[in-house]
Amino acid sequence: MDLQTVWFVAVAVLWTGFLLLEGFDFGVAALIPVLGRRTADRHLMLRTVGPLWDGNEVWLVTAVGATFGAFPIWYGSWLPALYLPFVGVLVGLIVRAVGFEWRHSSHDERWDRTWTRIITGGSLVACLGLGAALGATTLGLPIGADGVRVGGAFSGLHWPALLGAVAVLAFALVHGALFLALKTDGPLRLRARAFALRWSPVAALPLLLWAGLVQLRQGTTLTGFLWVVAALAVVLTWSQAKLDREGRAFAGWALTLVASMATVFGAAYPVVLPSTIDAAFDLTVSSASVSDYTLTLMSWVAAVGLPVVIGYQAWTYWVFRTRLTAGPQQEDAAAGTGSGAGTGS
């Protein structure tokens, strides 16, 4: 494999890792109006992602940074073509980030409810916008010969972008529900499991459609096989959720995403940004990448850095592994040192 291919894979892994991790905290935040019936439930939901969301979001920063670092022509064509949608994503991410941290700063109920709504709204916008961006960069944007967008501010937001937006949000909702089923106990766990059971087959459809369209355009046998794996993983998710095996259902749904994104990126390769105007304007890994010197350098840094990052991040997930429940405060004071034990009433 040449270095450009290695970095295409690396960028694909980072974007997939971002969807896999931030996907559940987007989902949990978006599900608050649906599953968080009582204040205690809403707090419990936010607490499940409290220690994790910031680390998850760094996957996005790293994915964008690696896209810039390895393929600046891709970065410099993709982002301005979807200028306003990306600005929407940024505003969503900003208000959601401060919401997570500032929500606790007052005991005023209105303050709490307002920030909770902002977290939900910001997560929805960011999730939809990033889905749109990923849909567009794998299915096509109206770019001309110089990589510059043709048409007005919203010309990039046609059906591929909308499909990506719906696919990522639908994935995130079920992913969030399965995460809640895995991380909480009590009535919320049951409601989250029921939600995942009911919606997972439907929610997988836009994701499979997106992957299928990229596959039909330029897929290989291998990516076709990956698509089948993704479809089978949906069945696995549903059947395990039906058997109340939350861990396996969560793993099945994660496999659905990983196999779908592997299909999307694998089938799109070597194109990183297809033009809907003329295939001759497509940006490819070779036309968009930096020099071999810089790719080699980044490869060494990533080869050492990425396993370490995955190692310590996995370890923090382990530290905060305990199921959370909504209960009276006194329990927490008594539990004291229990990892992740807490209250949310």
Binding site: L46, R47, G50, P51, D54, G55, E57, V58, T62, V64, G65, A66, F68, G69, A70, P72, I73, Y75, G76, L79, P80, A81, Y83, L84, F86, V87, L90, V91, L93, I94, A97, V98, F100, E101, W102, H104, S105, H107, D146, R149, A153, V290, S291, Y293, T294, M298, G305, V309, Y312, Q313, T316, V319, F320, Q329, D332, A333, S339, G342, T343, G344
Partner: protein, 518 residues
């Protein structure tokens, strides 16, 4: 305004705003880590309370720093796509490495520190804060190396096929003398921000407690006293280092970007020996150097630039002519220069901005050092100052190092105009890599789009600034709470075991173990 101007305002506003949080994150992070270390080592209750109180302020600020930092990662591509494509071989990889090697460390371990109180072993908990703080400090190196490469591009050759720089020596990019100078200057300046905050707030609490007749022997008194003493010494030491690194940086700038420094002095004609300008008046805003009059001290500028009292310092007029001869008197008549194509190039940065930016930085730095000296003197041998002017003046001076940091960056970034990547004078002109700001803006986006984003971001940033200031003010007023007396999760939970009379009565029990995450 055209797209270029709006995009520049947007970059300036979002970046300066982001950089209000950054020095506090770096400086206060280091100081909170020191406090936490002292607590683990000595087990004295005041160190724990200081860690909890200052840690809370640190986290409120950190949240907004992270949130506004996201914009930075995207906006090079969004509004400055041609710049991003041009510098991609060097600049992008530094951002990618920053994220991978620093941001993950920072965010993951900070999460562990916030939620780890009373849950993970004491030393591991302390180590996670240090890991997060090291992450912040390392991230600063990468982004400053990227910025310094724009100021002084090293380690690259021009790719004949594309005209873009090709990286050939990463080590040179990483050890760029401009980066080392800017990094050390920025880190010590960050410590001044944090140190002055400790001084201003600590002094205010000390005075309030003494006027309210509270004892000067209890733990909470020690909290504020130690805060003032620690902050005061850190600020003064950092001020010394700021001056030394700044002097080194100034000398480098004279060699690397002479126009920036001569503009900062409003030095029109070449002088030997050159005088340092104290105050400039008349038409500084016209950007015609000869319209400017200033009060000067002879010899000083030669010393600042070259370390002796006689060497000539080139003036703006001579340099402007030199640059016009080397890099062209007008922008090439090429569509990639947008509305600027074929227009004359002004190589002189905005005189008013560079001149006053430079001076404001120095004055505000000196103000924070002065109030720190006052605070140390007025708290000597256990004294507590009750002077209203002294204490409130010090509290107001908390803003000074923020202004100093912002104006320093505005000076250095505006001073490099009209280039976004400044030609490196150590390289023969034919081999130089340089890029005009006018070339950098994204060609496909409309002025309307950039206006929309500028207004949206400015509104959000404005609202968040109000909330952040309100929150910090509230927690500063509240001071140390009962929850801060024990290393338990949440600030409101758990009875006090170390001190029966904390400043603030127990609040109603917090509903959430995430309380400390404020």
């Amino acid at each position: 305004m055209d797209t270029l101007d709006i995009a520049r305002w947007q970059f300036g506003i979002t970046t300066v705003y982001h950089f209000l949080m950054v020095p506090l994150t770096i400086g206060l992070g280091l100081l909170v880590a020191v406090m936490h270390t002292m607590w683990v080592r000595t087990d004295k209750p005041e160190w724990l309370r200081m860690t909890r109180f200052w840690g809370r302020i640190f986290l409120i600020n950190f949240a907004l720093g992270v949130a506004t930092g996201l914009v930075q990662e995207f906006q090079f591509g969004l509004a400055w796509s041609e710049y991003s494509k041009f510098v991609g071989d060097v600049f992008g990889s530094l951002l990618a490495m920053e994220a991978l090697l620093a941001f993950f460390l920072e965010s993951t371990f900070l999460g562990l520190w916030i939620f780890g109180w009373g849950r993970i072993p004491k030393k591991l908990h302390l180590a996670s804060l240090w890991a997060a703080v090291i992450g912040s400090t390392v991230s600063a190196y990468f982004i400053i190396a990227a910025n310094s490469w724009m100021q002084h591009p090293v380690g690259v050759v021009t790719d004949d096929a594309t005209g873009r720089p090709l990286q050939v020596d990463f080590w040179a990019v990483l050890t760029n003398n401009t980066a080392i100078a800017a990094y050390t200057h920025t880190i010590v300046a960050s410590l001044m921000v944090a140190g002055t905050l400790l001084v201003g707030i600590g002094l205010w609490h000390l005075r309030k407690r003494v006027l309210a007749g509270r004892p000067t022997t209890d733990v909470d008194h020690a909290v504020w006293r130690r805060s003032v003493r620690l902050g005061g010494f850190v600020t003064l030491a950092a001020f010394l280092l700021v001056a030394l690194t700044g002097d080194y940086q100034g000398k480098l700038m004279y060699a690397q970007q002479p126009l920036k420094m001569s503009s900062a002095e409003a030095l029109c004609e070449t002088e030997a020996p050159a005088s340092f300008s104290i105050f400039a008046f008349s038409k500084l805003g016209s950007n015609e150097c000869d319209d400017v009059r200033s009060f000067t001290i002879p010899y000083v500028l030669s010393f600042l630039a070259h370390g002796d009292f006689s060497t000539a310092v080139p003036g703006v007029n001579e340099l402007q002519a030199q640059y016009a001869e080397t890099y062209g008197a007008t922008y090439p008549d090429d569509p990639s220069f947008g509305a600027k194509a074929g227009e004359p190039i002004d190589y002189t940065p905005l005189l008013a901005v560079t001149y006053w930016g430079f001076r404001l930085m120095i004055i505000m730095g000196a103000v924070s050092a002065a109030v720190s000296a006052y605070a140390l003197w007025s708290t000597r041998k256990g004294r507590v100052p009750t002077s209203r002017i002294g204490v409130y003046g010090t509290l107001a001076a908390v803003a000074a190092p923020f202004v100093a940091n912002a104006s320093g960056w505005i000076f250095t970034e505006m001073g490099r105009q009209p280039f976004v990547v400044y030609p490196n004078p150590d390289v023969p002109v034919a081999d130089q890599v340089y890029f005009f700001t006018a070339q950098g803006v994204s060609p496909g986006i409309t002025a309307g789009e950039v206006w929309t984003s500028l207004i949206a971001l400015a509104l959000v940033y404005g609202a968040l600034a109000v909330v952040e200031l309100g929150l910090i003010t509230r927690f500063v007023r509240r001071g140390v709470t009962t929850g801060d007396t024990t290393p338990t999760p949440g600030i409101g939970g758990g009875p006090s075991t170390t001190d029966p009379t904390p400043d603030v009565e127990p609040e109603h029990v917090d509903d959430d173990v995430l309380q400390f995450a404020h």
